[in-house]
Symmetry: C2
Subunit: 256 residues, 2 copies
């Protein structure tokens, strides 16, 4: 009979709780593979190859995503049993909806849309957004409603990756689309908001995922969230880049 | 003071309850504009321009849609207060899940997937389906869960249009992809199942939409359902036709 090795066997390793650093590395690997910084639509944007009309389509569709962020955060608020948790999470709703001292992210995104040449009041109605945008964004609401609070929080962890992408994007937008410069407040604000948020969320996930299985669920929630961002750009690319076939009823680029 | 015309004014007309024929014509117009029979992916399919790998991607992704149909119909069953309604609607669950005398639509779709060269057990796991598929299909569940029963029923009315598309498709699949011939039972069955279903549903919608506003809600539910079908093909086209960029983790065509 073989002597059992002192080394943990593979099954033990697969079930072992990850340390904070291991978990963070695992989450970062998800971002490296799936976050939308590598999407061809963003690559084109950063290379200056998008037309004004394509940037309009992006700003219009992405507005729908922006508009549900404080709704998804309110759902998470409604599910958090702990006042300390809710006080911390409430910041997100304020960041997007604004308060007496700040216009908030939704308003800032409308300014970006306006800088692309869209009428912000029309953008606000959501008319002309792609069904693919609506379905992907609504899935974000499904996740925070229907999965555990742990997974709902973990799905926000794309904020671990967003400061790097936003830094690059602002630089490239200024360089290639200087007429957009007046509309970049949204991104400037996110650069100081997101790091606090992601730090809180990753600590929450580490402390509340008590088993490896829960750590895997949290990782999957981040993977699914990355897919939600990615699919929005797929829909944009299909409709407005190649083959350039917006579905019936969707926004049409003028003089494209 | 102007004498009021005997003709109903525009506001009255916009609020007038549609007759059965008017409502049906309105619903048919939605299909003419938005049903996926005009989608470029289907046009390619019918022209014989899809590769086996592209047909595999279609069969794999569409399986996810097929697999949730009896779930969405069970949700509708659960919301129907009337035993007569539920008895009629139950047929749909049987059609897809099967019974002692029939294998059911889900099994038949797996046979189609197998005829494309996929392993049906792998298809059943759903691994490799596009996020865009998942989000669009899940939106169908959102609609039947969250809107009125009237709208949930109306969202099934794409069956008004499916027999014509399926008749064409079966002819074109036999012509261009003869190696698929053994996998077409699903479509043969739908040709006799769908007409009864759509007849019941349109009668239900007409009888239960008591105001023009409700008729408009029903029409919008059909529009949204068309978008759900259309968006699934957008995702397929983007990933497997042009530019041909499947997202991380999705099915890859071999030897493409």
């Amino acid at each position: 009979m073989a002597v059992r090795s002192v080394e943990p066997n593979q099954a033990d390793q697969a079930n072992a709780l990850l340390s904070f650093d291991e978990l963070r590395a695992r989450l970062r690997a998800v971002g490296e593979e799936r976050y939308h910084h590598k999407h061809p639509f963003h690559l084109m944007m950063h290379e200056g190859r998008l037309s004004r009309g394509q940037l309009q389509a992006w700003a219009l569709n992405r507005y729908y995503y922006q508009s549900i962020i404080p709704i998804k955060d309110s759902i998470i608020l409604s599910r958090g049993p702990d006042p300390v948790f809710r006080r911390a999470w409430r910041k997100r709703v304020v960041d997007h909806d604004g308060d007496a001292t700040s216009e908030g992210g939704i308003k800032r995104w409308l300014k970006l849309a306006e800088a692309t040449g869209l009428n912000p009041e029309q953008v606000r109605t959501g008319q002309g957004i792609l069904p693919g945008t609506r379905f992907a964004v609504n899935e974000y609401l499904n996740i925070v409603r229907n999965r555990s609070l742990l997974e709902a929080v973990a799905s926000s962890l794309t904020e671990m990756f967003s400061p790097e992408l936003i830094t690059l994007r602002v630089e490239k937008l200024r360089q290639h689309y200087p007429w957009l410069a007046g509309g970049l407040d949204y991104f400037e604000a996110r650069l100081y908001q997101a790091p606090d948020d992601s730090k809180f969320a990753i600590n929450y996930v580490f402390e509340n995922a008590k088993t490896r299985a829960e750590q895997e669920l949290a990782t999957q929630a981040l993977r699914d969230k990355c897919d939600i961002l990615w699919a929005q750009l797929d829909a944009l690319y299909f409709a407005y880049v190649q083959p350039g076939w917006p579905p019936p009823g969707a926004f049409r680029i003028e003089n494209a």
